[in-house]
Amino acid sequence: MKKVEAIVRLSRFEDIRKELAEIGVPFFTMNEVRGIGLQKGETMVYRGSTYDADYIARLQINIYTTDDKVDDIIGAIAKAGRTGEIGDGKIAVLSMDSITRVRTGELGAAAL
């Protein structure tokens, strides 16, 4: 079982969500993150001094899934999340030992 973590642009969220739903992955968890990468933050001005916003607002999408779906998920996110501009983000896959559904105690694929 795997956990897929994707760091993506906020503006691509709606499309990624749709794409994931289409490949049968409608459920996930997400949180706000701040990215420091090739793409730089906006240049801001305050009282005559300019400064760069250090980071860029990003969305992290976390999906617990079975091994067979991993490639589809990566494909879906890569497709819907792409703008082609620097800053599109990353998709990481981590090994997951187990998953449990709190409501029922079900384990593994049944918990998803």
Binding site: R9, L10, S11, F13, M30, E32, Q39, G41, E42, I56, A57, R58, L59, G87
Partner: protein, 418 residues
């Protein structure tokens, strides 16, 4: 009385009405700042409706219940009919109040006071009361209870005959609101989570203290009209004295609450200082025209020192009042009313007894009728939202709205997308 002086007098009462009006924004922001963010829409909604309901019901019945004129039955109750009835003669008849103001000025100034009363309650019952029953209760309070006891003094009723004095309403407005609030919070019970299983207090801090501070400054601002307008003319000497006593009492209230809360809790608690200012203002209200500047400082300072004790007292008794309305309006209202017997140009033992009588009579009436009304509402439609609704917050459960929307167009979250 010249037309010119009449115009000036009337203008001041009108401007005072404007100032008292903005106290409603003061209450709205103070209360909004002191509740949790999940109940903000609810408290704003209530404050918008209260001023609307207050003005309309005072138009329909309140004014003629409070100032029944000849219709008064022994100084206890009277009613001069529904709606407004312009007295004989032109609208602006200079004779109406001896050249001080017109009939309509009288109405609008009094109407602004009336709505204040219900607003006091809304803060104390915040975060857990059902909207509908609250509005019913507020309507009854403004339409009936407030004008009835108001008449006892300001409508030339029995307390006025007796010798009771309450210049601008420490008792008639503030304590009345406070008693009603007390009755309501006894029946409502504390907010979920305010007390641990073992009874210790778990503070539920307000979500936006700048809003609360805005509220307090606006209330002070409005109080210039509340007290200054209660002179009921623009008399230079009287109004300027009232301005000085009002301000010095507010300032002393801030210092009193600051010092006592520092001594008691070793903290510089902004919420206490804010309440202290209000306590000082409520305290001076009954005798703002009777005190010297020095006396007003004493009265305000004592009111300020009362606040921390009172807040802790109510908290310990599990009388949960998110904004401190009972401490500010009820306790300091009583203090201010009694202070008329202790300080200033009317002070004296006899007067002190009159003041006690007024406090007791109005308190007994308002508390018992408020309690009965709330009790009836509780027994019938229920007055408290469900636990689930309360935990979710009233904004979502009663209004399907959020005060601070996070979702932005083009992005699911609250910060600018790239």
């Amino acid at each position: 009385m010249t037309e010119s002086l009449f115009t000036t007098n009337n203008l001041w009462i009108l401007i005072s009405a404007v100032l008292v009006f903005i106290m409603h924004l003061g209450f709205a922001t103070l209360e909004a700042g002191f509740v949790q963010r999940k109940n903000t829409v609810n408290i704003l909604f209530k404050n918008c409706l209260i001023i609307a309901i207050g003005l309309l019901t005072y138009y329909c019945v309140g004014f003629n219940l409070m100032y029944p004129g000849d219709a008064s039955a022994g100084g206890f109750i009277g009613f001069a009919g529904f709606g407004l009835a312009l007295p004989e003669g032109a609208a602006g008849a200079i004779e109406y109040a001896d050249g001080s103001y017109t009939y309509y000025t009288d109405f609008i100034f009094q109407a602004m006071f009336a709505a204040t009363c219900a607003t006091i309650v809304s803060g104390a019952v915040a975060e857990r009361i059902k909207l509908g029953p609250f509005l019913i209760f507020a309507t009854i309070l403004v339409a009936l209870f407030y004008p009835i006891t108001g008449m006892w003094k300001w409508g030339a009723g029995w307390l006025d005959e007796l010798g009771f004095y309450d210049f601008a309403g420490s008792t008639i407005v503030h304590s009345v609101g406070g008693w009603a609030a007390l009755a309501a919070i006894i029946l409502l019970g504390p907010r979920i989570g305010k007390y641990a299983a073992d009874g210790t207090i778990k503070p539920i801090p307000g979500h936006n203290l700048p809003l609360a501070a805005i509220g307090v400054f606006l209330l002070w601002f409005g109080w210039f009209g509340f007290n200054g307008g209660s002179v009921l003319s623009a008399d230079a000497s009287a109004v300027s004295l009232v301005f000085v006593t009002t301000c010095l009492a507010a300032a002393a209230g801030a210092m009193g609450a600051f010092l006592v809360s520092y001594l008691m809790f070793k903290s510089h608690d902004l919420s206490m200082v804010l309440n202290g200012i209000l306590g000082g203002l409520v305290g001076i209200t009954a005798g703002a025209d009777l005190m010297t500047p020095g006396e007003s400082i004493i009265i305000g300072f004592i009111a300020g020192t009362i606040i921390p004790f009172s807040v802790v007292f109510f908290d310990k008794r599990k009388l949960d009042d998110p904004v401190g309305a009972t401490s500010v309006h009820l306790v300091c209202g009583i203090w201010g009313t009694l202070a008329v017997g202790l300080f200033g140009s009317m002070a004296g033992f006899q007067q002190f007894l009159y003041q006690l009588a007024g406090v007791a009579a109005i308190g007994a009436f308002t508390f018992s009728f408020s309690f009965a009304t709330m009790y009836a509402l509780k027994a019938t439609v229920g007055i408290r939202v469900t636990e689930e609704e309360e935990v979710k917050g009233l904004d979502v459960s009663e209004h399907e709205m959020k005060a601070y929307q996070e979702v932005e167009q083009g992005a699911p979250f609250a910060f600018a997308p790239q």
